[in-house]
């Protein structure tokens, strides 16, 4: 665990932040819970210092665990005791409350510094053993980071899957000021919408944010020159550079998972095709060559193939092509939909998340998962304007854009469709979520 190191990096990075806090924070609303969640007790962490802490660590952990659906945190008012360390834990107190797991902790000032140290301990009630525990140190402004780190540990201990609670999201907000003026903002926030920061503002559209695999940079499309062009921006410093200036459409930037290349869509040669730019040599390679629309590139995990949408058979369907292959060596992945768009593989490389319109008559667009081996399709959403799916770095959830009461909002759904939560926004259309890779 390298929290201390990573927190230091966050702290240093924050000094250089060009961005500032967005006025309206998003906050999560659980719209559908799991049928059979795991009971867990998260006891309020004791605080030994003076004053009131700005963040409630145990509440943040409870929210994290509840949002992803696998857990059902015990209400504080039902707790029989409030232990903050191992000696105070009586397993019987928790067994009679039918709890499977228990998290306790305490927060102290670090002597002689402005830092706080957070000690947590995590127990299996049934087996009466301590599963994990450590002391994390950070500044009081990093209590949220510390809480999310603890959530990661709990999640991984129980599910065996790495937690994604310290991940972040990028998204675009469009604020309609008047019929002639819309303000577009590229924002970054914690995965739960908290601590939103503005990375870029423009009166011209901003589209298609994409994380670099290190989480250091974002690529996006901005119309600030009156034409869609691709830019890469350092998230911490705000330093940015224009990457493309080809004629016609420049869109859909996607970093390869190994970070060496940027896939994109250019129509400089007539119609939109997929291209790959090497980020070291700047060499541009054409990947697809078809007179109809090819767009929405995404990478396979090995950075060797690109999944994309093409109209080559008349309607949008999803295809895959290997880098270096002839533009004829294209494998078609979807068949059973009127339109299948915006495909991307889950980390398993077998399940393809995509946007789907079943029939010509019914123009509803929904998020679904296709297993390309069994060809089984699992619909994940049932609203009509769902788009821009983005996969959590641990593959457990998908965030996507939809409409609610006529406004663009971000929803997330677990990969089995069982759990949903929404990040409501104060104003404007929120769209195009991009879930970060693991950031530490």
């Amino acid at each position: 665990m390298n929290l201390r190191k990573s927190l230091t990096i966050i702290l240093v990075g924050s000094l250089y932040l060009m961005s500032f806090s967005a006025s309206a924070e998003l906050s999560i609303q659980i719209t559908q819970g799991s049928d059979n969640p795991i009971p867990i007790a998260v006891v309020p962490f004791s605080w030994q210092g003076n004053g009131v802490l700005s963040e409630d660590i145990s509440q943040i952990v409870m929210n994290d665990l509840e949002q992803v659906g696998e857990f059902s945190p015990l209400s504080r008012s039902n707790m029989l005791s409030m232990p903050s360390e191992e000696q105070q834990v009586f397993y019987r107190d928790w067994r009679i409350l039918a709890q499977d797991y228990l998290l306790v902790g305490k927060i102290d000032r670090t002597p002689g510094s402005q830092l706080v140290q957070v000690q947590y301990e995590f127990f299996d009630i049934n087996r009466e053993i301590k599963l994990a525990g450590e002391v994390l140190t950070g500044s009081v402004t990093q209590l949220r980071d510390i809480a999310h780190e603890i959530s990661n540990v709990v999640f991984e201990q129980v599910t065996g899957t790495r937690g994604a609670f310290t991940s972040e999201i990028l998204y675009v907000v469009a604020d309609y000021i008047s019929p002639e003026r819309t303000n577009f903002r590229l924002e970054k926030a914690d995965y739960d919408g908290q601590r939103a920061q503005i990375l870029l503002e423009s009166v011209e559209p901003i589209m298609s944010p994409s994380w670099s695999p290190t989480g250091r940079d974002v690529a996006y499309v901005s119309f600030e020159t009156d034409l869609p062009r691709i830019y890469i921006q350092n998230i911490a410093t705000g330093e940015r550079s224009q990457i493309t200036n080809y004629p016609n459409l420049n869109s859909s930037p996607e970093f390869s998972p190994d970070g060496t290349k940027l896939a994109m869509v250019l129509s400089k040669d007539g119609s939109p095709d997929i291209y790959v730019q090497d980020l070291t040599t700047n060499q541009l390679t054409r990947i697809t060559d078809h007179p109809l629309i090819d767009t929405e590139p995404s990478w396979t995990a090995d950075s060797k193939s690109i999944v994309f949408m093409s109209e080559r058979t008349g309607q949008p369907q999803i295809y895959q092509i290997a880098l270096g292959a002839s533009s004829f060596e294209v494998e078609r992945l979807t068949y059973d939909c009127f339109q299948c768009l915006n495909g991307m593989f889950l980390p398993d490389g077998v399940n393809l998340v995509h946007v789907r319109r079943e029939t010509r008559q019914d123009p509803n667009y929904q998020i679904a998962v296709l297993n390309i081996e069994t060809l089984r399709v699992i619909p994940l959403t049932n609203t009509s304007l769902d788009e821009s799916p983005s996969i959590a770095p641990n593959g457990s959830m998908i965030m996507y854009a939809t409409k609610f009461n006529g406004r663009g909002v971000l929803d997330a759904v677990s990969i089995d469709g069982a759990v949903r939560f929404r990040l409501p926004s104060a104003q404007g259309d929120v769209r195009e979520p991009a879930w970060s890779p693991f950031l530490n």
Binding site: P205, L249, S267, N342, R357, P363, Y365, L385, S388, R431
Partner: protein
């Protein structure tokens, strides 16, 4: 994107009654087809209120052909059917006037801004908006305009003309706007 007028103004030729008379008596469907779509209103904000005659017409009297050209050039928004990238056949005559105007005024520059309604993915709509603009671009070139006079840009679904999820909003949003540069 300042919306400059496409044409310089020459006053006194737009007798509205005359316009109405011609529109009513015309057997062509230019105007109706051009305004197209359930949601179109007669007062689209991006239509220019100004126009001028083509070079050569100096007297106050306009021929029927000239009046038709005036009216055609005042139409700067062309609407598209859902899922369709080709402009409506009813707009062909109007676009022919635009092409001839460009051919006759080689210094004139326009921008074709393609748009889509919000259904479908954003990237697909960005590409679709470009195809719509290109369908008009190609027609203008075939009919005499020069490629260098025309810039094409697609905004996809990013700049709707009308907010909301109604069919009428959608039909107003599937459009190509001709903007003078």
């Amino acid at each position: 994107m300042t919306k400059q007028s496409i044409q310089t103004i020459k006053m006194g030729l737009m007798a509205i009654s005359l316009f109405a008379l011609v529109a009513c008596s015309s057997t062509s469907d230019t105007e109706e087809g051009g305004m197209g779509g359930e949601g179109s209103s007669g007062s689209d904000s991006s239509n220019n209120g100004s126009a001028r005659t083509n070079a050569g017409s100096t007297s106050g009297q306009l021929t029927q052909e000239e009046i038709r050209a005036e009216n055609a050039l005042r139409q700067t928004v062309f609407y598209f059917d859902f899922d369709i990238a080709e402009f409506k056949p009813a707009d062909r005559e109007t676009l022919s006037f635009h092409a001839r105007n460009l051919a006759a005024n080689s210094s004139e520059r326009i921008r074709l801004e393609g748009h889509a309604d919000e259904r479908g993915t954003r990237e697909y709509n960005l590409a679709l908006g470009e195809r719509r603009a290109n369908s008009i671009l190609n027609y203008l070139i075939v009919n005499g305009a020069s490629r260098s006079q025309i810039e094409v840009v697609s905004y996809g679904e990013e700049q709707p003309a009308q907010a909301g999820q109604s069919d009428s909003a959608y039909s107003r949003n599937r459009r190509v706007e001709v903007v003078a540069r």
